[in-house]
């Protein structure tokens, strides 16, 4: 132990706030570690297995530390129709990491998400929440290059 979970104290420790607690941990740490699960379980007075059970149900929660720049490639219907799988392929080749992985330098992590809700600009991806739309290969490479140089 040794980490500080004081930020949880803003949330009322009742079972219905369990997901909020996990979200708070992820907002703070970027992911939910084993240690955090135990801390959350203790705070909300729910068994550790149950806490992990809830966590594993929801796609939002990450169990490993994400990169500095989190790339989400949208694979919603509109993006899929417009070739999002190609975008994903290009990024995989360029960064040398698979869907769901983080590179060894901890700079980029890559995941596909169901829909970013910007279907009219399909295909889109987001980097740390900022959405980039109307992508083709050139635009995708430019985005990666820009973040690499940052």
């Amino acid at each position: 132990m040794g980490q500080n979970y004081d930020y949880l104290k803003k949330i009322t420790p009742e079972a219905s706030n369990l997901i909020r607690g996990l979200q708070a941990v992820q907002a703070q740490e970027g992911y939910v570690s084993d240690e955090s699960i135990i801390a959350v379980a203790e705070y909300f007075n729910t068994p550790v297995v149950e806490t992990e059970g809830v966590l594993s149900f929801y796609a939002q929660f990450k169990r490993s530390k994400p990169g500095k720049y989190q790339i989400c490639v949208c694979d919603g219907t509109a993006c899929h129709i417009k070739g999002s799988s190609l975008i994903l392929d290009w990024i995989i080749t360029e960064l040398g990491i698979a869907d769901g992985e983080t590179d060894t330098a901890g700079l980029f992590s890559l995941e596909t998400v169901a829909c970013l809700g910007c279907c009219s600009l399909a295909p889109v991806l987001s980097v740390n929440g900022k959405v980039f739309g109307n992508l083709d290969r050139k635009a995708t490479m430019k985005i990666l290059k820009e973040f690499k140089q940052k």
Binding site: I19, Q60, A78, C115
Partner: protein, 576 residues
């Protein structure tokens, strides 16, 4: 800067920001010497973003589309130049009917005063002057049906909750817009949060609710922000005190589970549990959140309420078709010129929406997918059908929440079905065997077919398993998951047969059934393909080794002369 400029508005909903509106905004501020610029929501024409609207001292409104964050583009706007002026396409203007989205993209979503000045909270005031019985009667008479996809009569649902005599009653706004390809609710929450909240307050009064939850997708940070700002403003003006009840309003963030759009699953999630659905009865209006009577309505349903009450049920019901009243929002995306959000009266034809409003090309359009992964595709031959709850159901599709994906002739329908099953089998919560295992087997079968390994029996299997999954599943997810497969089998069986019998994908979409070749006559030997190929499949004399090639399309994209093509497997290249 032209001195006729009175007010500058910029569209800053998610779609605007994604198109670069924040850079445009920064430059506009710089060039106008920090003049106040109003950030408005989405006005529906997403294909035009970034959009800047100028109100002049003459009372004129000039809209500029595709404004770029550069000196020239901004100078043109500030000089009220002719370039880039935007007019709504007259065909669209004639068909659309702006009721729910009347103020979207017009007012500043974070301003309580602007909403008030534009007729906001008139409906609430009128509702509070009525008895609750009269109010519910009004909603019943309007014919409003749930906009989340189910189409249950809203007034009836309200009546169920109102009849409960408990101290605590819970009202939930379902803002877990999980259908990939749908963004109506996002747009409403981002652009007119007060209108959605006004609808909830009216419902809370009618039903005697004591607490309101808004269950919103975490993927919609801007919507959550605007809702929270609006809730603070409501509390400041004490609008949340209704009938002496101090109604608490919370926004709860979902955590990424499609099944949570189902009402009993959503309630479990709100209780901090895994979001699995349960048997009904008891229905949520009998026993919902923590056992209290609970009613769930969708964002767009609430968005309809303020004007329904303000204008009256009769006026509301004068729009729409026999069984479906009012207007409906549709999110158009996919293969069309003008993707975006549109509000039309119910009962309009698909043809009008897709071609006249969406600007899709009738020559190159194959089908439209309504209702997202729970819906079905409707082929272009049937585009004269009307868009309302009952007509779409008859075609094997559903109205759904309003996402419409236009599918072009160059898309493979088997691959489209595979895509939807990939989504639903992963989103299945695992509770019902038929949904958990059945969707997975269907998905695997479709994977095999698109990979060229399908056998004729696979088609029989899909046709047999689909109805079983529908019958054997507890909630809407499983009950609708096979729809995309069954609909494509019904209308595009020949495409399935081409994959299975001839190992061919006629539109050259399925990677395992195509080769990639270079047209040697037109190639200029620039070596860009060789340089960019990630797997070194292009030889020094510009021949692609199709055993090595992963069909990633990189060479096709980088080729400056468009001399690289996908061709049917084993057919080689012919330049005709």
């Amino acid at each position: 800067m032209n001195d006729k400029i009175k007010k500058i508005k910029i569209g800053m909903a998610s779609c605007g920001i994604a198109a670069g509106a924040d850079d445009v905004m920064a430059l506009l501020k710089e060039k106008t010497g920090n003049m106040a610029i109003t950030e408005v929501g989405c006005f529906g024409h997403c294909y035009c973003e970034p959009v800047v609207e100028i109100e002049t001292t003459d009372g004129e409104s000039i809209i500029y589309s595709h404004v770029a964050a550069n000196e020239k583009s901004i100078a043109n706007v500030l000089a009220l130049g002719e370039e880039g002026r935007f007019e709504v396409n007259p065909k669209r203007k004639a068909k659309e009917l702006l009721k729910v989205t009347r103020l979207a993209g017009v007012i500043d979503p974070t301003s309580y005063e602007e909403y008030l000045d534009n007729g906001g909270y008139v409906g609430l005031k009128k509702a509070l002057a009525m008895s609750t019985e009269k109010l519910i009667d009004e909603v019943k008479k309007s014919g409003l049906r749930g906009r989340g996809g189910g189409g249950f009569p809203t007034g009836m649902k309200w009546g169920f909750l109102a009849a409960k005599k408990t101290e605590q009653k819970i009202l939930i706004c379902n803002a877990d817009e999980g259908d990939p390809g749908a963004f109506m609710d996002r747009s409403l929450m981002e652009s007119v949060p007060h209108q959605v909240l006004e609808g909830m307050l009216i419902a809370a009064y009618a039903t005697g609710s004591t607490r309101i939850f808004i269950y919103c997708r975490a993927e919609y940070p801007l919507a959550i922000k605007h809702l929270n700002i609006a809730i603070e403003q409501i509390k400041e003006h004490k609008l949340n005190i209704i009938d002496g009840r101090d109604i608490d309003i919370f926004v709860k963030e979902g955590a990424g589970a499609f099944v949570c759009g189902e009402e009993t699953a959503l309630i479990h999630s709100l209780e901090g549990q895994r979001g699995t659905p349960r048997f009904r009865p008891p229905f949520p209006t009998d026993s919902g959140w923590k056992g209290y009577p609970t009613m769930i309505n969708n964002v767009e349903t609430f968005g309809n309420i303020p004007y329904l009450i303000a204008e009256g049920a009769e006026s509301y019901a004068s729009v729409g078709s026999e069984g479906s009243k009012g207007t409906k929002l549709f999110a158009l995306a996919g293969d069309l010129d003008n993707p975006g959000l549109v509000e039309v009266p119910m009962g309009i034809s698909l043809r009008e929406i897709v071609f006249d409003i969406g600007g899709a090309n009738p020559e190159t359009t194959k089908a439209v997918q309504t209702g997202g992964p729970s819906g079905g595709c409707i082929p272009v031959e049937l585009f004269d059908s009307l868009v309302d709850y009952d007509s779409l159901k008859a075609l094997g599709a559903i109205m759904g929440s309003g996402g419409m994906i236009i599918i072009g002739k160059n898309r493979c329908m088997v691959e489209t079905a595979r895509y939807f099953l990939d989504f639903t089998h992963r989103e299945s919560c695992g509770k019902c065997t038929f949904c958990r295992v059945g969707t997975k087997r269907m998905f695997e079968t479709l994977e095999r077919i698109t990979a060229g390994d399908g056998v004729p029996e696979d088609l029989d299997f899909l046709a047999e398993m689909g109805p079983k999954v529908i019958k054997g599943s507890l909630c809407g997810l499983g009950q609708t998951a096979p729809n995309p497969v069954l609909a494509t089998l019904r209308y595009y069986r020949h495409e399935y047969e081409a994959h299975v019998n001839n190992k061919q994908c006629d539109v050259l979409s399925c990677d395992n059934l195509v080769d990639v070749n270079i047209d040697q006559d037109k190639c200029i030997k620039c070596k860009l393909c060789i340089k960019n190929c990630p797997v070194d499949a292009v030889s020094d004399d510009f021949v692609i080794d199709n055993n090595k090639c992963t069909r990633c399309n990189t060479c096709i994209e980088v080729c400056p002369k468009n001399t690289i093509f996908r061709v049917k497997k084993g057919e080689g290249f012919s330049s005709e």
